[in-house]
Symmetry: C2
Subunit: 383 residues, 2 copies
């Protein structure tokens, strides 16, 4: 943490654990007898419970979206640039909720948790979870918090898919839906990248068909490869070029297989740090949830029809250099919303940072984000 | 092979092995005491030796560019669509030469060859080779064939880089230089993908630091992963979408980690067949040759200056959906050629097949290719 907490930070925060003692049936047909949801909140819920905003996290995200857990933390939560007093999601107005999705590895029940039916950790036996399952468990948390309707559900990337699913599954439980750097479903190329990542993890000899914990090991190489590959797809070619170019790590190339270029060194470092704090089975689950997300499938592959029953007003944001979920993918969402005469505002942000742009405090992006959230506040009569 | 050989095929062909008993010093400083070059030729060299065309192969290519080795072959050489009587590179006019580059695994000396200094196979001890080394050995083959000057040097992708290097290294030894789907150097993103591929190979427990042959194994998983990843970068998102979309392999998703989507099945199949006939150490060498290619580095990173001494007339071709070496990369080459007042024709082909388009008989592409080669024939007074 910086020596003094910045004035626009939500400050020191701590997660809450909610134990749910009611079984839930998942989309795959299997059930969880009981489970934990770990979440954080920032700001205060008003009397009418009308100022609640749900943040949905992406592949490697968690419930720690803003502020600091400890005064020694080097970094704040993953979306600290967007959440805090005076920020786009202004905690002076909003009560912000973010939970670790089930299947995750940061506290909510997932592959690293104990399976109550066997008293052993789930590991690879944890059921496949989907975006719909996450939205259902988020709704259970909302019930617990007495939030009948969210002022807004907000997410980027896989989080944006959850926001979309909220609008479809619970049309009257959110006023606004913010889908940032998202897509209505993965493309074949997106699935292909996920399949390479999964193959890397599963073919690591330390994977042991997912039972690596029993073998007191982790599939470091495979998970590291998956993360390296992920990183390439999160950044644009231009952003990588600007950040690393063809800079050599040392003065000259050395005609061998050690690191020559800075970009190699960066990827190796990123993957080494990631594998220490992320679970491989969770990574597999997250990529499958991405692959399976396709809400229009049940509506004759007609996205307009799929979105025809939503009641939320929408903000859709894309970034010009995002090639993972390109602006064209956001256009699909916007066009479907317009076809079914929904209220939608669309912003295509000129940005060179690629998919990762959604996490960054790009002035024009945050200006639009903030203006929109001010409108949300006005809609909810918070101001 | 089809039941009857098509009339526009070069027919049955067989490779020739040229043993070179003169040491060659490589760019990395190491030498090969002696080595073999395996090559194929199609058409006839004329008396003046003025009708020779050199084909340079890409990462996983080899000397077998056209025709059939055996009447039972299912497929012809890798660029059969472009080489043959009446085709773009018309063997009625041209004498076509294609060799397996050193470091390869299809006959020319490489990691799978016996090291004459140890009488054991080279394996990982084979020296790092560069595009310049390849061009130098190709020039040695030209000397042997009594070809003082190529009518044209032609290549796609990494092959296009060799064509460029020819024009730089031996300005008076080629009349025309055809650089197709190439780039003047890799971007940070290109290098990043190569680094992931290398990491996959090197972290396979069957890699044994490159000594897998002594361990009577091959790093199947790692090389397979590298190939899967390569395939994603060779195809465009659109081409993958058209070919596979989100088609399920069976009727429904099965909430597990086996293959759900056709694209997964395709990638797995591609990688499984590839690993049976390609050497992992060669794959590593080829990716390093790509990473290191940067001819402008010795000219203050000024590509125009780098190309200022070339004498060849140039054709540069790019494909709109190629995101590995995008049209912008070809523009860099074209702009540099124009700045130094070289003769260049540029064609940007509307194609949805991605980088792989350079291997495909896209009508407009082949029409331009053929027209250009007719001009080459006219220049060499072959017609």
């Amino acid at each position: 943490m910086p020596e003094t907490i910045p004035a626009d930070s939500v400050g020191l925060v701590s997660p809450t654990n909610l134990h749910i003692d009611m079984p839930i049936t998942l989309e795959c047909g299997r059930s969880l007898l009981r489970y934990d949801l770990v979440y954080e909140t920032y700001g205060k819920l008003n009397k009418e419970a009308s100022n609640a905003v749900l943040i949905c996290h992406a592949l490697s995200g968690d419930h720690h979206a803003a502020g600091y857990h400890d005064k020694d933390d080097k970094k704040p939560g993953w979306w600290d640039t967007a959440i805090g007093p005076g920020k786009a999601i202004d905690t002076n107005h909003f009560y912000v909720v973010c939970l670790n999705n089930i299947g995750g590895c940061k506290g909510s029940t997932g592959p690293t948790s104990i399976n109550p039916e066997t008293d052993k950790i789930y590991g690879p036996d944890f059921p496949i979870v989907t975006v719909t399952d996450w939205v259902n468990t988020q709704a259970i948390l909302a019930d617990y918090l007495n939030i009948k309707q969210w002022a807004a559900v907000v997410g980027g990337s896989l989080g944006g898919m959850q926001a979309m699913q909220w609008a479809i599954s619970f049309p009257d439980r959110l006023q606004h839906c913010l889908m940032i750097a998202a897509a209505p479903k993965l493309s074949a190329q997106n699935i292909a990248f996920n399949e390479v990542a999964r193959t890397a993890i599963k073919s690591d000899p330390n994977f042991h068909e997912g039972h690596y914990t029993e073998h007191q090991t982790i599939p470091r190489q495979g998970l590291g490869l998956a993360r390296m590959l992920g990183h390439i797809t999160y950044l644009s070619d231009q952003a990588m070029g600007e950040k690393f170019g063809r800079e050599l790590r040392n003065d000259s190339i050395h005609y061998g297989y050690d690191v020559d270029f800075q970009i190699e060194s960066y990827l190796r470092y990123q993957s080494e740090t990631f594998v220490e704090h992320f679970d491989a089975n969770t990574y597999l689950l997250m990529t499958k949830a991405l692959d399976y997300f396709d809400p229009a499938k049940q509506y004759d592959h007609d996205l307009a029809k799929t979105l025809s029953t939503i009641q939320a007003k929408c903000l859709v944001v894309s970034f010009t250099s995002d090639w993972r979920f390109s602006p064209e993918r956001s256009h699909e969402i916007v066009n479907a919303l317009l076809s079914s005469e929904k209220e939608v505002i669309y912003a295509e942000i000129e940005a060179h940072q690629g998919h990762d742009a959604f996490l960054m405090p790009i002035p024009r992006y945050h200006q639009i984000f903030k203006t929109y959230m001010q409108r949300v506040a006005a809609d909810c009569e918070l101001t």
